[in-house]
Symmetry: C2
Subunit: 230 residues, 2 copies
DNA sequence: CAGTGGTCTAGACCACCAG
DNA sequence: TGGTGGTCTAGACCACTGA
């Protein structure tokens, strides 16, 4: 087989699965048999099948062999872009409008979220992300100052906090959750929506090692949708 | 090196990146050099680095070498479970409550969405997914009957349409979008929420080849969040 | 306990593309 | 155009686990 045949093979086998050549729950041929059939090395078949296993189409077990899954796992991979890129991708000009930049003691909820002792201080930032002078998203962020003291002198009116953080603390871990919230008067005004509107909300918390860095909620105007292939 | 050393190596290199041994934008050593350093074959290094490239930490180019990305790509992989599993994972009993099962002509919006000709008929299904007699989610689904005529006799009061579809047409393609909607009186009543509440909404459209199969919107009660690691 | 997939190796060829 | 990563091969050993 030629170069990239592992790609050809995984595509081919995917087709054979989706067209029903092997039924859900059935056992596939062994790697050696497939290698024989495709005229390639077992390692190549192995690579192709690993791809399909990652996709959730098949399940592989030592001794037991490779099985077509009865309920293929549905999954979506979401790229989480920095907002500037998202805006620029629409051909609009991006500008972060820093509304609040306040150093203070954290409210209990935030302190718990960032695993802070009560005496520690945090930076509270509110930013309205603008696309061509239209509001694009409202961001409410709490930042553990001890984790990134340099943020005090960051030009957050020019570079969004998120982008500044990614550049200064790249490769942080985190989690994310998506939900819906109702716009209060303040946020509704900023996003030019009616109070009580349903806003799509993304919450993220990131940390490095044991140290929590930031927790942020971003609210998008009514109608915003996050899309992905399945 | 021992078995699974590619895993050890990718973990180790990830640490070396995050601890700043190589700065963002910098060039990493060549595969051969790393293979030498770790005392393994180049293929093993290659596998480890591919993992990191998939994660969006590094960028690899022939001739140019392997580079640490300046802005590591943030991404989340969402598993999209069938609702029954989601409910059962919480230790609750699942039951689909089929509220509407009607064969009719599609409204224009749906017909466009499913790429149907106007004379074609569709199945309109509304299901309230229950968890231990509490409403868990409300589903509004339109189904292209020509794509799956057998659905007319499916026991949709026992098996949710989604699960039935996955079993009968596994391995379909699709897309998904997340957003927020306001509960109208009907849905609010079903989900035991106030009218006008912000509901998290998931829309999916799936197809097989050129044929559209189904489009569905699922609304979750206020407070529901979809979580994922980053 | 035997058969399967998981992994590693050493060597090879080649596509790509930056210099 | 030469150096880099992408891929393949043939063979090997081993962990896991189902029969």
């Amino acid at each position: 087989m030629n170069e990239r045949s592992h790609l050809f093979i995984s595509t081919d086998i995917r087709t054979r699965i989706t067209t029903g050549e092997w039924s859900p729950g059935a056992l596939m041929p062994r790697e050696i048999e497939l290698a024989d059939e495709y005229g390639c090395a077992r390692a190549t078949i192995n690579r192709a099948l690993q791809t399909l296993a990652d996709e959730g189409l098949i399940e592989r077990k030592r001794r037991a062999g490779t099985r077509i899954l009865e309920l293929p796992k549905q999954h979506a991979r979401l790229e989480i872009p920095i907002i500037r890129h998202e805006v620029e991708a629409m051909g609009q000009r991006y500008h972060p409008n820093l509304l609040l930049n306040e150093e203070r003691h954290a409210p209990d909820v935030i302190a718990a979220n960032l695993k802070l002792r009560t005496e520690q201080r945090v930076l509270h930032l509110q930013t309205l992300h603008m696309a061509d002078d239209q509001p694009f998203a409202f961001e409410d962020r709490w930042l553990n100052i001890d984790a990134v003291p340099e943020v005090r002198v960051a030009p957050l009116d020019k570079v969004s906090a998120n982008e500044w953080l990614i550049r200064h603390i790249p490769y942080a871990s985190g989690n994310v959750s998506f939900g819906a919230i109702q716009a209060d008067e303040h946020v509704a005004g900023l996003l030019e929506a009616k109070p009580g509107s349903a806003l799509f909300s993304v919450e993220r918390t990131t940390w490095r090692g044991e140290q929590m860095i930031t927790t942020v909620q971003i609210a998008y105007p009514p109608g915003y949708q996050l899309r992905s292939a399945l």
